[in-house]
C-alpha cells in the first residue's frame, strides 16, 4: 500500500515536470516590451531637426486623434524598409506623425529624409538616447501609437512597420 502511494506521488511529479517543460518549450522566450501599453506618455522637450528650435513633444497644436511617434536613425537599415509605410500613414488625416531621431548625426538624418521623403510633421532629436529610454524603447525602429486625448500609448511596435502592421494602425485610427 505504502509503495503504491509512493509510486503515485513520484509518477504524478514526473508527469507535472514533463508538462511544465512542454509548455515552457512552446512558449516564446524572447522578451519584448510591445505588450506594455496603456502607459501615460510623458511630455519631453527637444531640438527640432530642421528648425533647430526646442519644442515640446505634446503640443497644443496637435489636435488630431492619434499621434504616431516613430523612433528612427539614418544608420538603421530596417528604418529604410519601413519608410514607405510611414509615408503612406502620414497621408491619413487623423494622424500626426512625429519622428524621434535616435543617436544620429544631423547631416545624415537630413540626407536620409531628403533621399526617401519626409513623412514627419516634426523630427525631434535624441542624440544621447535618453528620451527613448524614458519612453521605454528597446532600440530602433520602434513605433508608438498615442491617443492624443488620453495621452496614452495604446499600441507599441518593436521593429519595422510592414504592410500588416500598417493596416493594423489604420484600423486602430478608424476605431
Amino acid at each position: 500500500m505504502k509503495k503504491k502511494i509512493n509510486f503515485i506521488i513520484i509518477f504524478s511529479l514526473i508527469i507535472f515536470i514533463f508538462i511544465t517543460f512542454i509548455i515552457g518549450l512552446n512558449k516564446n522566450s524572447t522578451y519584448t516590451t510591445a505588450n506594455i501599453k496603456n502607459v501615460n506618455i510623458e511630455n519631453f522637450k527637444s531640438k527640432e531637426l530642421f528648425s533647430d528650435e526646442i519644442i515640446n513633444f505634446i503640443n497644443p497644436n496637435f489636435k488630431k486623434k492619434i499621434t504616431i511617434l516613430n523612433i528612427w536613425a539614418s544608420w538603421c537599415l530596417p528604418c529604410r524598409t519601413e519608410h514607405e509605410f510611414l509615408i503612406n500613414l502620414s497621408e491619413n488625416k487623423e494622424v500626426i506623425l512625429v519622428g524621434l531621431n535616435y543617436k544620429d548625426k544631423t547631416e545624415n538624418a537630413k540626407s536620409f529624409l531628403n533621399e526617401l521623403g519626409n513623412p514627419y510633421e516634426k523630427v525631434l532629436i535624441d542624440d544621447k538616447g535618453l528620451i527613448s529610454i524614458e519612453l521605454g524603447a528597446f532600440g530602433v525602429p520602434e513605433t508608438y501609437i498615442i491617443n492624443n486625448q488620453e495621452k496614452k500609448i495604446i499600441k507599441k511596435y518593436v521593429g519595422p512597420i510592414d504592410e500588416i502592421k500598417s493596416k493594423e494602425i489604420e484600423s486602430l485610427v478608424k476605431s
Binding site: 522578451y31 516590451t33 505588450n35 543617436k103 538616447g129 535618453l130 529610454i133 521605454g136 528597446f138
Partner: protein, 128 residues
C-alpha cells in the same frame, strides 16, 4: 599674505577631495544599480557588462536620475514601469511570481520532513 595662501590651498584641497569622493560614491551607485539590471537586447548580460547602445543609454539615465536626487528604489521602479519586471534580475513578490518564491521553500520543508521521518524511524528501530 602667506596665511591667506595657506587657507586658500587648504580650501581647494578640501573641495577637491569632497568632489572626488562624491564622484566615487556616485560611480559606485551607478555600478551597483546597473549590475542589478538586465540588458534586454543582449543575451545573458547585465546593463553593467554590456556595451550596446541600449545599455549605454540606460546607464546615462541612471546617472541623470542620481543627479536629480532619486533614490535607488525609485530608479528601479521607474525602469520597471517602462520595461516591465523583466529588467530587474530579482523578481518582485506578486501574484505572478508567488510560485517562484514559494516552491523552493515548500520543497525544502517537504525534503526536510522526509529526512526527519527517516531519521526518527531509524532511531526507533535502533532503540528497539
Amino acid at each position: 599674505m602667506k596665511t591667506i595662501n595657506k587657507i586658500f590651498l587648504f580650501l581647494i584641497t578640501i573641495i577637491f577631495l569632497a568632489n572626488t569622493s562624491y564622484a566615487n560614491l556616485k560611480n559606485e551607485r551607478v555600478d551597483k544599480i546597473s549590475k542589478n539590471l538586465r540588458c534586454l537586447i543582449c543575451q545573458g548580460q547585465s546593463i553593467y557588462d554590456s556595451q550596446s547602445d541600449f545599455a549605454l543609454s540606460v546607464r546615462d539615465l541612471i546617472i541623470k536620475k542620481i543627479d536629480e536626487g532619486e533614490k535607488d528604489d525609485n530608479i528601479y521602479k521607474y525602469l520597471k514601469l517602462k520595461y516591465g519586471d523583466w529588467i530587474v534580475y530579482e523578481p518582485e513578490l506578486n501574484k505572478n511570481t508567488i510560485l517562484l518564491w514559494i516552491l523552493p521553500l515548500i520543497l525544502f520543508i517537504f525534503g526536510g520532513l522526509l529526512i526527519f521521518r527517516k531519521v526518527i524511524i531509524k532511531l526507533n528501530k535502533n532503540n528497539v
